[in-house]
């Protein structure tokens, strides 16, 4: 999944004088208070940290309250989603209008109907709402499915993402990974070709020919010709 990164940081944490007897605890508390919040300096949401105190000596700031600054070396796990990144999350709610996803258990995303490619059709099966691919019968998205989607925008305050399932490389992760080589043709140059999956999923809904589907056929045909 994109958007996650580990960073090394040199930090200085300023502590109130009353904390001078329990510095480690105060540092951990200070850092913990910035967890799961978007941090401008780090350029992302702090998910986890590991700190080492560099220097036992701390500089005391002059002022009304003599805060002292402790220098630290920290290892930070950051989450910084940007537009056009691919993220993965679990579907928690699904309706004809939208799909709601939770990423890493704390960030929420919504994919509205107009951002879901035409390949997916909304269905109700056995009282369960789902989106099923018209071209690939096994490609199904329902509540509980882990999906990969594209980031359109990211609200830094609420950590809320507007997502999109338009690109062909998005959808149910399980299905995508199984058919990854096929999909990889679209955005990366292919090394191998696989006919097997293609021949299995021959059923096509009438009247529904999404653009990507057409491309798929053409590219496949092209390659077959070149191989032959």
């Amino acid at each position: 999944m994109e958007g996650l990164s580990v960073a090394d940081a040199d930090l200085v944490v300023y502590l109130h004088p009353s904390k001078s007897s329990k510095v480690s605890q105060a540092i951990l508390r200070e850092l913990s208070s910035s967890l799961f919040k978007f941090n401008e300096t780090f350029g992302g949401v702090l998910l986890a940290y590991d700190v080492n105190i560099l220097d036992k000596q701390a500089k005391i700031l002059s002022g009304v309250h003599p805060y002292f600054g402790v220098r630290l070396k920290a290892n930070l796990l950051l989450f910084s989603p940007k537009s056009d990144m691919l993220l993965e999350g679990k579907v928690v709610k699904l309706s004809q209008e939208s799909i709601h996803v939770i990423i890493l258990g704390f960030s929420s995303a919504i994919i509205t109907a107009e951002n879901i490619r035409r390949e997916f059709k909304y269905k109700t099966k056995d009282n369960e709402e789902l989106f099923a691919s018209r071209s690939h019968k096994r490609h199904v998205i329902k509540v509980g499915t882990m999906i990969r989607f594209l980031v359109k925008s990211f609200d830094e305050e609420i950590l809320h993402i507007i997502g999109s399932l338009m690109p062909a490389c998005t959808g149910s992760i399980r299905w995508l990974d199984r058919n990854s080589e096929e999909i990889s043709e679209f955005d990366r140059s292919a090394t191998k070709s696989t006919d097997r999956e293609w021949q299995e999923d021959k059923t096509v809904d009438e009247g529904a020919t999404p653009l990507s589907y057409n491309n798929h056929i053409q590219k496949f045909k092209k390659r077959r010709i070149s191989e032959d």
């Binding site: 709610k93 929420s108 109907a113 609200d155 305050e157 950590l159």
Partner: protein, 585 residues
């Protein structure tokens, strides 16, 4: 019909026409998007339906419900700037005005909005929080059966909505926390909205997202209680005739809360006589009842231990540091009484731990031991052995202090020590009967105690502060309520000693003597103070003189003799520190 529906030749105002949900949703979507192209007719009709909310005919109710449901499906088309009139209409709707079906639809819309876009989350949560309290016209009806029904209906939906939103937006409870705290009505609101608001906060604490928001909610409630608590001090000072009826208060009720095994909170009522119908007192009263009921429900659900940890934290942070907090401590006392073995003992041990540790600030330690003394003397649910073990801890600490400080009396330098001694004395006076019954305890405690009392540091001299707490207490007639039990107890103390003395005639040991004298002296002190109270008219003008008369300068009326050991008039500590003395108890 308010909404423009597609032209259907078969459609007739009288015919029932069934549109599918998706058709209605798409019409609403059209209405919303048409605004972009300048056509505001359908949109305005939508807004109109939202605004039309009072005295609705059944078909209007149905229309409202349908529109709300359709909007819930069309949230992706709602633009925060373009459709601001619609949004403001939605957010100003109050669930209290509608029946269950419309309320369901409205909540569904709010939840859909909240999870659709980060921009709406705060607004939606805010709308739900504002539904904690009913509209002004409804507040009076809350007590009626219809009002209660509506209240249950609204609040259950509001809290269910919080859970739903939290399911789809995991960080929502964090935003909710700040919103609830900031939205708390002040205690000065005439409409007493704070009562139902606090009820909601407590519901949040025990609700499905309680894990995330509970402790903050509880601490915020205690903060509010303290605020009111301290408020009462001021009001009582400004009363003109609070001296009347001071001793006619229903003090037994206050005691019942703390002492009895199964306190009946229904009887917990601050007497209005002494507070001249003070509405703040009534409010505090009601809030305390709410809190007590909540604690009871926590205990029934088996969650009390966890809630107690939060209470303790709150106690340490706010109650103990509050100058002259009088009633809020009872929240902790009550929780202790619900679970004496765990919470009850934990509280006492925590206070004792605080007292003996050098690293804590002096004022914290003194305050801590004062509350400990108050707690140990009042809590009937604590076993004698536990109380004696706590007391032994204090005695041991004081003895150790004596042994390491071979110096003369100096009230300023040894404040912690003196407050410790004072606490010991206080508890002994209340619980002496218990110790008299167990001779082993007597020797374990009283012998080291004698050493302490006879030490150069001379704690008894400083403990004479006890009588100095009364003038400070006179600032609040509520605080005076604690004098009364002391009166009762003090008069009981002497006979007990006499019995013991008679029984152990052969003993004639010196420790009995000194304690007998002590009891005598203090009893005189109490009685004298009692006299001075009845005699004097304490109104605002004479307040200062009264204070001077009763407090710092020792007078003959106090019978300050300490068994005749000291001939010269005793020197009082230079400052009265009420927070160190049991007055706050």
């Amino acid at each position: 019909m308010g909404l423009e529906l597609p032209k259907n030749p078969d459609m007739d105002q009288d015919n029932v026409v069934n549109f599918t949900d998706s058709e209605i949703v798409s019409h609403v979507k059209d209405a919303l998007t048409s605004l972009l192209s300048g056509d505001s007719n359908s949109y305005n009709q939508l807004v109109g339906v939202m605004h039309h909310s009072k005295q609705l005919a059944p078909d209007e109710v149905a229309l409202l419900e349908t529109t709300l449901k359709a909007l819930a499906g069309a949230v992706s088309c709602i633009d925060i700037t373009l459709h601001d009139s619609l949004l403001s209409a939605i957010f100003s709707m109050s669930l209290w005005n509608y029946g269950p079906h419309v309320a369901d639809a409205l909540v569904e819309l709010i939840v859909s909005l909240a999870i659709s876009n980060g921009k709406y989350l705060d607004l939606c949560l805010g709308m739900l929080v504002s539904n904690f309290t009913p509209p002004p016209y409804f507040l009076d009806k809350l007590k009626l059966p219809r009002g209660l029904e509506r209240k249950g209906q609204v609040l259950s939906r509001v809290h269910a909505a919080f859970k739903k939103i939290a399911d789809y937006v995991p960080l929502a409870p964090l935003r909710l926390l700040t919103m609830v705290q900031q939205g708390m009505p002040t205690v000065y609101h005439k409409d007493r909205a704070i009562l139902i608001y606090v009820e909601n906060m407590l519901t949040l604490e025990s609700g499905e997202i309680g894990e995330l928001v509970g402790s903050t909610m509880l601490m915020a409630v205690v903060d509010r209680l303290i605020e009111l608590d301290l408020e009462i001090g001021w009001d009582a000072i400004l009363q003109d005739d609070f001296s009347k009826g001071i001793f006619e208060m229903e003090l037994e009720d206050l005691e019942d809360i703390v002492d009895s095994a199964e306190p009946d909170i229904g009887e917990f009522r601050l007497s209005r006589k002494s507070l001249a119908g003070n509405s703040i007192a009534e409010l505090l009263d009601n809030l305390l009842v709410l809190t007590f009921e909540h604690l009871e429900s926590c205990e029934r659900a088996g969650r009390l231990a966890k809630v107690f940890e939060t209470l303790l934290r709150s106690f340490l942070l706010t109650v103990m540091t509050a100058y002259k907090s009088k009633f809020t401590q009872f929240v902790v006392f009550y929780a202790c009484s619900l679970d004496p073995e765990n919470c009850g003992m934990r509280f006492a041990i925590m206070l004792a731990d605080l007292f003996v540790q050098d690293s804590h600030p002096q004022s914290t330690r003194m305050s801590s031991v004062a509350y400990l003394a108050s707690y140990l003397s009042r809590a009937k649910f604590l076993s004698a052995s536990f109380i004696s073990s706590m007391l032994k801890r204090l005695v041991d600490w004081c003895l150790e202090y004596c042994n390491t400080h071979d110096v003369d009396i100096n009230p300023n330098a040894h404040r912690v020590f003196y407050s410790g001694c004072q606490a010991i004395m206080y508890v002994l006076c209340f619980r002496m009967k218990v110790f008299m019954d167990v001779p082993r305890l007597k020797s374990q405690l009283l012998m080291p105690l004698e050493q302490i009392l006879k030490h150069k540091l001379n704690p008894l001299k400083s403990i004479s502060n006890i009588h100095s707490i009364f003038p400070v207490q006179s600032q609040s007639s509520i605080i005076n309520s604690f004098i009364r039990p002391m009166f009762v107890f003090w008069s009981m103390v002497k006979p007990t000693y006499e019995d013991a003395y008679d029984d152990e005639n052969d003993d004639g040991s010196s420790d009995d003597d000194s304690i007998q004298d002590f009891a005598n002296e203090n009893e005189d002190i109490m009685n004298d103070v009692g006299k001075s109270f009845d005699e004097q008219q304490l109104d605002l003008d004479e307040f200062d003189c009264a204070l001077k008369k009763m407090s710092i300068t020792p007078k003959n009326s106090f019978g300050y003799k300490f068994g005749g050991r000291f001939q010269e008039p005793t020197r009082m500590p230079s400052r009265i520190r009420p927070s160190t003395s049991p007055e706050s108890l």
